[in-house]
């Protein structure tokens, strides 16, 4: 598993909101160690028996070992909330919120780097290490524990693939959604490198899509030998028209950028295993596993 340990202390920003409250409960049901919540003006109350504070520093004074914040606050308040988490020295800030202005994210991602903090997302489902912990909104029922590292730019597609893996007897070490915005804090490559270093992960599944060039960056790293574990890649948007945002703010095929087909071909040329649809992924994994076993013999 990557990013979190089973007992990592988690804080929820916007915990008293509808989504914040709902998902705090689900996170805790999935094993997450949520120790504090923050909503300005609500200090002293509690949500699902988690104490609520006005500020992160107030929470930290009582729970000094918090490592991650999960952010459920509305887009207009996110700049303030994420900056607060970074400045409070939290190592990870997982931002679920969709619709944050890209200028805000752009600034925050750079500021986080300067402060030594890491943003996951925004506009992402967070991550789950099935049976251990969860930070975000992924439905626990779609995942089974195992040795596949799953990385995705898309929420629902992650659940679909997780569920397909489960039906076919595969489980995931961690599934992480890096977010669908044009600027995200953690790139496909950065997530892949974490799985590469993770002893509980044996194969890596990457769900890419049109827009940006994180997939090209990943392909270069595979080609250069930085990633030795088998990588299975699917690219959404093979049939997407140019210059149109496909749901995600970041899913847009712009002139001069690679198409989904280009991206997949680059990854395959670098040594990744292609899946033409998300529903093929278990079959590709079976093939890899069999090859690995037969090689092992």
């Amino acid at each position: 598993m990557i990013i979190l340990h089973k007992d990592t202390q988690i804080l929820v920003q916007g915990i008293t909101g509808r989504e914040g409250t709902f998902h705090t409960r689900l996170m805790m049901e999935s094993g997450a160690n949520v120790v504090a919540g923050v909503t300005p003006g609500r200090e002293g109350s509690s949500v699902e028996s988690v104490p609520v504070y006005n500020t992160i520093n107030a929470a930290l004074s009582k729970h000094p070992h918090i490592k991650m914040s999960v952010v459920f606050v509305p887009p207009a308040q996110c700049f303030d909330a994420i900056l607060e988490a970074i400045d409070a020295g939290l190592q990870w800030v997982t931002v679920i919120t969709e619709g944050i202005p890209v200028k805000d994210t752009l600034w925050l991602v750079n500021y986080a780097r300067y402060k030594g903090s890491h943003i996951i997302g925004p506009n992402c489902p967070g991550l789950i290490s099935p049976g251990k912990t969860k930070a975000g909104i992924m439905p626990a029922s779609a995942f089974f524990p195992g040795d596949v590292g799953l990385i995705s730019r898309s929420g629902t597609l992650t659940y679909e693939v997780g569920s397909g893996l489960k039906e076919n007897g595969f489980g995931v070490s961690t599934a992480v959604g890096i977010g669908g915005d044009p600027i995200v804090g953690t790139s496909l490559l950065e997530a892949t490198m974490m799985f590469e270093a993770d002893s509980e992960t044996n194969t890596i599944v990457v769900l890419g899509e049109i827009g940006g060039d994180m997939e090209e960056e990943l392909a270069s790293a595979i080609k250069e030998g930085a990633i030795m574990k088998p990588v299975v890649a699917f690219m959404a948007g093979m049939t997407a028209p140019p210059d149109k945002k496909m749901g995600h703010a970041g899913a847009i095929l712009q002139f001069g950028a690679s198409s989904a087909k280009d991206k997949l071909e680059l990854l395959v040329a670098a040594g990744a295993h292609p899946a033409r649809t998300p529903w093929e992924i278990p079959d590709v994994l079976k093939e890899i596993t069999q090859n690995t076993i037969s090689l092992g013999k």
Binding site: P75, A76, E98, G99, I100, P101, V102, K103, L106, W107, V109, N110, Y114, P125, I137, M138, P139, S141, A142, S152, R153, S154, G155, T156, L157, T158, Y159, E160, S163, G180, P182, I183, L207, E209, G211, G212, D213, E217, F234, A236, G237, M238, T239, A240, P241, K244, K245, M246, G247, H248, A249, G250, A251, F255, G256, A260, R276, T277, P278, W279
Partner: protein, 374 residues
């Protein structure tokens, strides 16, 4: 949101930059041309939110006002790269020896702003970047800082334009991008005429997610290519028109794109991308079905939902509400998985709609309904 040229130029003018003199004429009021007091030669420019309008006949140069009046109506009749012409910008034509390029955009790869200066403006910057890369200077500017003298100096050197002339343009470009949350501010071309610089064409794209901060921009009408796109924007759906005949409704951008790809791989042709987003309730599904029902291009509707926040029973309720008591005008193929998929499937079956759990089977079924060959 991509602003029209005339909207972009209004912003540039507010920021103190010089643009060509001109007036905007609406489709419904071509007589507005009578209010002009411009000096010929003139140029008529179709206002469409898409590139390549010059090649598509959207720009017409005229010697005098009489000629402009003649060409005005014919330009309103044109379709420019799929867009009807709602407004025309009539401007004084400015001739200059050198046309230059300048833009500020968000660089996804470097997580920074990109300031691009081109010594050859007026043409597609990506093409020039490939054919004559030496004419392009690209500066990467961290969002943690502002434009500084050395940035402007680099551009001044590259374009051979004096600092005093280029400095206000570069700084205002940056101010516009930051203050208006622009993803792109592009001046292409701008020219140096004597002691001033004049911007001949401009393109500004505002970050949709930031429109809540800019009430004036937020009130501008949606600028979709098709009627469905404009209607979908009003409902708040994430929707893109495509050329095929299978209407698609999905939840999540990645899953909806993957559904398009799946249909295509089975020989089908998607008529749209429609993502209801996360946790949609029945009314969103009802409105989505209605939208596709009204679209003559759509011959079959394919709903592909993997429930996380979205519940299968809400999907089913929405579909049933949309169909009402009448038999459906078009076949509907539904695939449900995840949260409450079983409940949803039962509800649909009770109302005569079959629901698949396998997306592949569902896709094959949808393609077969329009006579495709899976």
């Amino acid at each position: 949101m991509r602003l029209y040229e005339y909207e972009s130029k209004e912003i540039l003018k507010e920021y103190g930059l010089s643009i060509s003199r001109g007036i905007v004429i609406s489709r419904d009021h071509p007589e507005e041309i009578e209010q002009q007091d411009l000096n010929p030669p003139l140029v008529l420019k179709a206002q469409v939110p898409v590139g390549g309008r010059g090649k598509a006949g959207g720009i017409i140069k005229v010697k005098n006002v009489e000629e402009a009046k003649r060409q005005l109506l014919s330009l309103f009749d044109k379709n420019i790269n799929g867009y009807a012409v709602q407004k025309i910008l009539l401007e004084e034509e400015i001739l200059a020896d050198r046309e230059l390029y300048l833009s500020l955009s968000i660089n996804r790869q470097e997580k920074s702003y990109s300031l691009v200066a081109g010594a050859l403006g007026g043409i597609d910057i990506e093409e020039i970047a490939k054919s004559k890369p030496d004419t392009i200077l690209k500066l990467s500017i961290s969002p943690l800082r502002l434009i500084n003298n050395f940035d402007v100096l680099a551009i001044s050197n590259h374009l051979s334009v004096p600092m005093v002339r280029i400095d206000p343009i570069v700084r205002q470009l940056f101010s516009i991008a930051v203050e208006l949350d622009a993803e792109l501010v592009e001046l292409n071309p701008f020219v140096i005429v004597g002691n001033t610089s004049v911007i001949l064409d401009a393109k500004i794209i505002i970050d949709d997610s930031a429109l809540f901060r800019h009430p004036l921009l937020n009130e501008l009408p949606p600028r979709g290519k098709t009627k469905e796109e404009e209607e979908a924007a009003r409902i708040g759906l994430s929707y893109v028109s495509l050329n095929g005949n299978i209407g698609i409704i999905g939840n999540g951008a990645g899953l909806t794109m993957a559904t398009m790809d799946l249909l295509q791989s089975k020989g089908g042709h998607p008529a749209d991308f429609l993502d209801v987003g996360a946790g949609a309730k029945s009314d969103i599904f009802r409105k989505s079905i209605h939208l596709l029902m009204k679209n003559d291009r759509v011959k079959v509707i394919f709903v592909n939902i993997f429930g996380g926040l979205t519940r299968g029973d809400e999907v089913a309720k929405g579909i049933i509400e949309a169909l009402g008591s009448e038999p459906p005008k078009k076949p509907i193929v539904v695939r449900l998985a995840g949260t409450n998929a079983i409940e949803g499937g039962e509800l649909l079956r009770k109302n005569g709609v079959s629901a698949y759990s396998s997306p592949l089977e569902a896709a094959v079924s949808a393609v077969s309904r329009v006579g495709g060959t899976p």
